[in-house]
Amino acid sequence: MKLHTVFFPICCVVFGSCSTPAHKEAKSDAAPAPVYFKIDPATAGTLAGVVRFKGAKPHPKPVDMTSDPACVDAHHGKPHDESLVVDAKGDLANVFIYVKSGLEGRKFETPSDPVTIDQQGCWFEPRIAGIQVGQTLKVVNSDPVTHNIHPMAEVNRAWNHSQGAGDPPISRKFLKPEIMIPVKCNIHSWMHAYIGVLDHPYFAVSGNDGKFRISNLPPGDYVVEAWQEKLGTQQQKITIPPSGAVETAFTFKGE
């Protein structure tokens, strides 16, 4: 999936900024500037791996968009359900992998770059997105029809917003960690996405080849969770030694 390639550079960008924490001198009348955790590039490690699917290969059902002919035209090709995307080798895409615990007490800087969700061909792109608390979510409508994006948050405030063809992007933020926020379009019932909100930058989404990579991770003991929208979650205890490159694999079982 495209996301894999997108997320990796984002992690690098995040990391680059984290490695040079701001040392602002707090004046008595101003709120103290947040002290961000300083990642030591000399000792930071990497967690890489693959997510596999075991079981009968799923046959994704076609998605019927004929109720909105403009969507059929905009989609280019026959849409299929993407809630379980497995390639010929059994690699599982669209799994959200993130550090669930082990980073407590550390505060990470919020990236200034937005995370973008596009509505294109009456489809959310990407389907699975990770974002940090306070980071801007930019919602784009590239379609010739009206969408109404509706993140059904429970920890954060739920909201929905209408976006007609050609309307400017919507910018929103989530203020609390939440795994995962289901997103729907109030108008097109087949449109689904999920957003994972974290207070740190250590997350990734498995690509079409099932692979994922979380970089710049400080050495330490972590619980890492893999989340899949239909198959649930799995956890692993992972230890990252100084400058370590740890490989792991998650396997989800189907029916």
């Binding site: 109720s67 919602v139 009206t146 109404n148 909201w159 209408s162 400017p168 910018s171 929103r172």
Partner: protein, 390 residues
Amino acid sequence: MEGGQTAVISAATALRTPRAQAQATKPARCKRVLHFVFPVIAAIASAGCGQQAPPQSDRPIGKIITIEAPLGLPPIPVPADDPETAEGVELGRRLFYERRLSAGNVLSCASCHNPQLCFTDGQKHSTGFQGKTGTRNAPTVMNAAYFPYQFWDGRAASLEDQAAGPIANPVEMNQTHDISVSKLNADPSYRAAFEKAFGPGRITINRVEKAIASFERTLISGDSPFDRYQFGGDKTALSPAAIRGLAIFRDQSKGNCAACHTIGQNYALFTDGKFHNIGVGVDGEGNLVDQGRYSETKLDPDRGAFKTPTLRNVALTAPYMHDGSLKTLRDVVDFYAGGGNSNPYLDPKTREIKLSAQDRADLVEFLQSLTGKLPADAGPPAETRTEQSE
């Protein structure tokens, strides 16, 4: 020269900007107070120069006429102090198209309420003095006589109260009432027309308002295909899709549009005359960009609430919503189908709307059936016609 002519009048009429109007919760009382004050001022003034005219009535003097309501509409409400007369209507029509009521003589009421566009201007936000734009969409004047409030935020309670607002608004016609009155006074044909309509006396902004309102009460449009179907017994007047659309429009579990865009037993105004927050005017970050009715009432539930517009002739009055943000009827129906934009003051009814793709298509078809017959004498009067068609 203009200032000298209007010195005392200005004391009596004062400059009524839209904001000043908005703050006057009971404009009628203001006028009454002015009538009390006037003799005193007049007495003092007459002692000095002897030129001051006595207080005058601003009630039309001609034979009272009745504007017939077309099929689907109730009798037209007419205020007791501004009865319809042929002379008042004729004068109001001339004033409605009068560019001298604007700074630089460039804009008239019709600039933004163009009869060719069912008395709207087809723009998202209207263009006023020197290209300035406001923040709201010009609503149609057609059938405005029925509305209990004027302006999107309801800051005027009558057509009379509304009429003078845009003349003085700096982003609209941008001309003080004193100057407007003195320009009219300088034209003998206007002096004659005002005396014919209101009797002897000076031209006042009050007379200007009343004449314009009298004309606007003739801008009534009904007898649409919907009216012929609903109230005229003609079951062939609507297409099957429009009939389905009407059912969805009224169905509380589907469109529920009629909850606010009302359809009565014997007539239909397609507005409840009230104010609702339907989530229009919420920016991408979820903030209300225009407080709407709240700016008048200072009541929290009125934040982001705007007057329900009539849907009569809605196919002719794009773009839509108080901010002109939606271009087509399909956009409007899709906006509702999606539940609008969430915000803390959203009318909960907007969340309960459920529309399938077929429902949405049928609703658009129904809305097209609300285009009514337009009155014959709504355009500019003969003497200004060439000027208007430039």
